[in-house]
């Protein structure tokens, strides 16, 4: 039905692109070609964006106003999907879990990443080995990490074995609401702090040593130099990395999905998991689309506020 239609539209788009190319290639005179060449060259890209980005976006937006389960004909329901979404406690719960996740993961990853970068930017023994070691977690696929961690957090797994050695009782890491979220957060922080570290390190290494030499003539306090010199200099990097991590953690899906499926209860059900369940498990396509668009709007609002409060536009100037 709808998706079948989109297959036809895709065919048309690709056909149009081919026609444009062939038309430009064989039918136009040399003079016209030269004059309009840039336009012709742009047409395939514009068409590609139109059909690969704009069309699906419009299509999905339209879906947000329909009730459609796949096996029944779609029905226009106006703003019902949005209204139902706001009345759904699972929506608020998922939003809450996501915000909690972001509020803990992003600051920890950015701050720890920065501190480790500052530490390993100094002349210390074995720093190259340490740098390599620290960056390793980035290369692990999040879903794989999730499945490996299932055995890590198992009742008889290595984490509990370690606890037992120190005389503690084993913990059902993924079996209680509080420990489940903490376990996932711990993994996310373990995996993405190195990314922050890596970006900060490259930023720090680009800072001129002459500025620091001059600063050390003024003061011996490393803390003061960090506070008044390093931090202002790397502010654009902090802003960038914060935004990147914010964006990624707001969309977090793989780790909680592979570890807990959003449970126990709703303790780790993030916004992305909730939307996935509504759309691809329950086939409430309209409802899922409404939720996805609301989230897009929310991201827009969050980033607008961040740009205003953090004066990011000044930073990037």
């Amino acid at each position: 039905m709808f998706l079948g239609l989109s297959v036809r539209v895709w065919g048309m788009a690709i056909g149009l692109m081919l026609l444009t190319y062939l038309g430009g290639r064989f039918l136009l005179s040399a003079k016209t070609k030269q004059k309009h060449l840039p336009t012709f060259l742009l047409i395939p890209s514009i068409l590609a964006i139109l059909f690969m980005v704009i069309y699906p976006l419009v299509y999905a937006f339209r879906l947000a106003f329909l009730e459609w389960h796949g096996f029944t004909p779609p029905r226009f329901v106006g703003l019902n999907n949005f209204l139902n979404m706001f009345l759904d406690y699972k929506f608020w719960s998922a939003l809450g879990v996501t915000m909690k996740f972001v509020a803990i993961a992003v600051p920890v990853e950015v701050i720890v990443g920065l501190l480790v970068a500052v530490l390993l930017n100094r002349q210390i023994r074995g720093k190259n080995f340490l740098r390599t070691l620290i960056t390793l977690p980035i290369f692990v696929c999040p879903v794989a990490l999730g499945f490996v961690s299932l055995s890590l957090y198992d009742t008889n797994g290595p984490v509990n074995a370690l606890l037992k050695i120190f005389g503690f009782q084993p913990i059902a890491w993924l079996g209680t609401p509080n420990t489940a979220l903490a376990s996932i957060l711990l993994l996310d922080i373990w995996q993405w702090t190195p990314f922050c570290f890596l970006v900060f390190l490259s930023g720090l290494q680009n800072l001129s040593s002459e500025i620091y030499e001059a600063a050390y003539l003024e003061t011996n306090s490393s803390l003061a130099i960090f506070r008044y010199l390093t931090l202002p200099l790397i502010k654009p990097i902090i802003a960038t990395i914060t935004m990147l991590r914010l964006l990624e953690t707001l969309k977090v899906f793989d780790l909680p999905m592979s570890l807990t499926k959003g449970g126990p209860g709703f303790a780790t059900e993030t916004y992305s998991i909730m939307t996935y369940k509504v759309g691809l498990r329950q086939f409430s396509f309209g409802d899922a689309s409404a939720r996805a668009f609301f989230f897009l709007f929310l991201l827009f609002v969050i980033f607008t506020i961040l740009f205003k409060i953090g004066k990011f536009s000044e930073i990037y100037e």
Partner: protein, 523 residues
């Protein structure tokens, strides 16, 4: 001379090629589906794993018989519904059929996506199987929809009880239990209350002698997995008033919805008591249960660390694998416990019973071969389904644990077990020869037999359209209630509200019609 030699050589070569070709089968008569390839989706479990294992094992034989090629496409369990319907919605044509879970039948019929199999059943071109061989009542809730057959017999899932026979029959433990609880328990326990008492008694004690405290029960309660089904199985005797002939009436033998109004029954007192029981059982086991898929719960039982486990029949075959199991030869199996009280909706009160209210359990995917209407070769897919349903293949499948295919046809049972006029045809040697411990095999088959014969009232799988939405709503709340995030009352009321909403969205009248057909309700 040279020409003569060449001529002789030519004749010899010609003869040799002729012999080779005929021995390779080129001269054979063309087989029934020569040159056809069908793609069948199946649960991703590899060539020795549950459900997919049987397809792989018999592939060569089936291809040899038909001349067709079987392309097996494995799909992870969490993506099966998504992959099937994405393919069907878009007309992708990836699958000609699917060895799939019957709980999507309502969705498939709502979209008119599958063939019924009545047209081929009596066709002599296909392998023979017998409708009457299916255990009475089971076909109505697995293979048929209304009066029409959609699936040939393959797998029949149900929840049964597994327990540590060696520990529960130990007189020392029996005496200690009696001293503590004031009564002597039955082996196996006959009611959920009795089971909970036993689980609580053993929980925290080192009854396996490994120096560490052990558990009373192991259940797979992870969200998005089996918590909802475990709860429904447990709830059925609290909610299903037995009907005299096993056929559902408005107030008897029904569980999910009122078959007259489609009103959910989930917030009724019977369900509430069942949820309180589930929470009690959870506390008599490892707290990690809330994070366990089926494998986690099985592992704990196989590792010899819990007294009880209830669920699908896979645990029996797994217990025979000595590399993984410490409980081979110690396994006890039975029908799920019943209750001595059942909620009578008609009178709005608890009905007291002299004997436990046992319910025949038919919860589970009961993997069956579905023939999609998008296929060009429905007959070839049917042939495959009929091949696996035929007596010889089907019997082999159920006695070989790795196939994950469970009993549901009468001939698969022992010769002293009967279903009306139909008798079982298996002997214990059939099982022992496959590596089963004798007593484990007896217990395992007995549990299925008890499940199918001790009650006429059947708990069916919910097969209506939108089943996944109904299930997710239930599963979410059961998980939340067990983990203590909401009270049982709030959880069940939320499920009730969500089920009402889903039914309204999909159309009350339509859903009611589907529901009645799915459970075999006639006004």
């Amino acid at each position: 001379m040279v020409r003569k030699a060449l001529l002789v050589m030519f004749v010899v070569v010609w003869l040799v090629i002729g012999v080779l070709l005929s021995s390779a089968g080129w001269s054979q008569e063309k087989r029934m589906f020569e040159g056809v390839t069908i793609s069948i989706g199946v649960l991703a479990a590899g060539n020795r794993g549950p459900i997919s294992g049987a397809l792989y094992y018999w592939r060569d034989e089936w291809e040899k018989q038909t001349g067709a090629k079987l392309n097996i496409i494995e799909v992870p369990i969490a993506q099966i519904r998504e992959k099937i319907f994405t393919d069907l919605f878009t007309g992708g044509g990836t699958f000609d059929g699917f060895d799939g879970p019957i709980w999507i039948t309502g969705d498939l019929l709502a979209g008119d996506y599958i063939y019924d199999i009545e047209q081929w059943y009596n066709d002599p071109r296909f392998p023979r199987w017998n409708k009457d061989d299916v255990v009475p009542g089971l076909a109505d809730v697995v293979n048929k929809w209304g009066d029409t057959w959609y699936y040939a017999p393959n797998d029949y899932d149900c929840h049964t009880l597994n327990y540590r026979r060696d520990i529960l029959t130990d007189q020392r433990w029996q005496a200690e239990f009696e001293k503590e609880k004031g009564y002597r328990y039955n082996v196996p326990p006959r009611t959920w209350e009795e089971l909970a008492d036993i689980a609580e008694f053993f929980n925290g004690k080192d009854w396996n002698g490994d120096g560490e405290p052990d558990y009373g029960i192991s259940m797979a309660l992870q969200k998005g997995q089996q918590a909802g089904w475990h709860f429904i199985s447990l709830a059925s005797p609290y909610m299903m008033v037995p009907s005299a002939d096993g056929k559902p009436t408005r107030y008897k033998g029904v569980l999910w919805f009122d078959p007259e109004t489609m009103e959910p029954l989930i917030n009724q007192p019977g369900f509430l008591r069942a949820l309180e029981m589930l929470i009690r059982l959870y506390k008599a086991g490892n707290p990690a249960q809330l994070g366990w898929e089926l494998g986690g719960a099985w592992n704990e039982f196989l590792d010899g660390k819990s007294i009880f486990n209830y669920g699908y029949g896979d645990l029996g075959p797994l217990a025979q694998d000595e590399e993984r199991s410490k409980v081979k030869g110690k396994l006890g199996c039975s029908i799920l416990p019943g209750t001595l009280e059942v909620w009578d909706r008609e009178k709005g009160e608890w009905m007291k019973l002299a004997e436990p209210n046992f319910i025949t359990n038919a919860i589970g995917p009961s993997w069956s071969i579905m023939i999609f209407k998008q296929t060009k070769y429905p007959e070839v897919v049917y042939h495959l389904a009929a091949f696996h349903a035929s007596k010889e293949i089907s019997f082999w499948n159920v006695t070989h644990g790795f196939t994950g295919i469970n009993l549901g046809q009468t001939f698969q049972f022992f010769t002293d077990q009967s279903f009306g006029e139909k008798k079982g045809e298996a002997t214990i040697e059939d099982w022992v020869n496959q590596g089963w411990d004798k007593s484990d095999a007896e217990e395992y088959v007995k549990a299925f037999y008890e499940n199918y014969t001790m009650s006429k009232t059947i708990l069916p799988q919910l097969r209506i359209p939108g089943m996944q939405s109904y299930y997710d709503a239930l599963d979410d709340q059961i998980n939340a209630a067990v983990s203590g995030q909401v009270s049982p009352e709030v959880a069940l009321q939320r499920v009730y509200d969500e089920w009402q909403k889903i039914t309204k969205q999909l159309g009350v009248e339509k859903q009611l019609e589907y529901y009645r057909e799915a459970i075999g309700y006639k006004k």
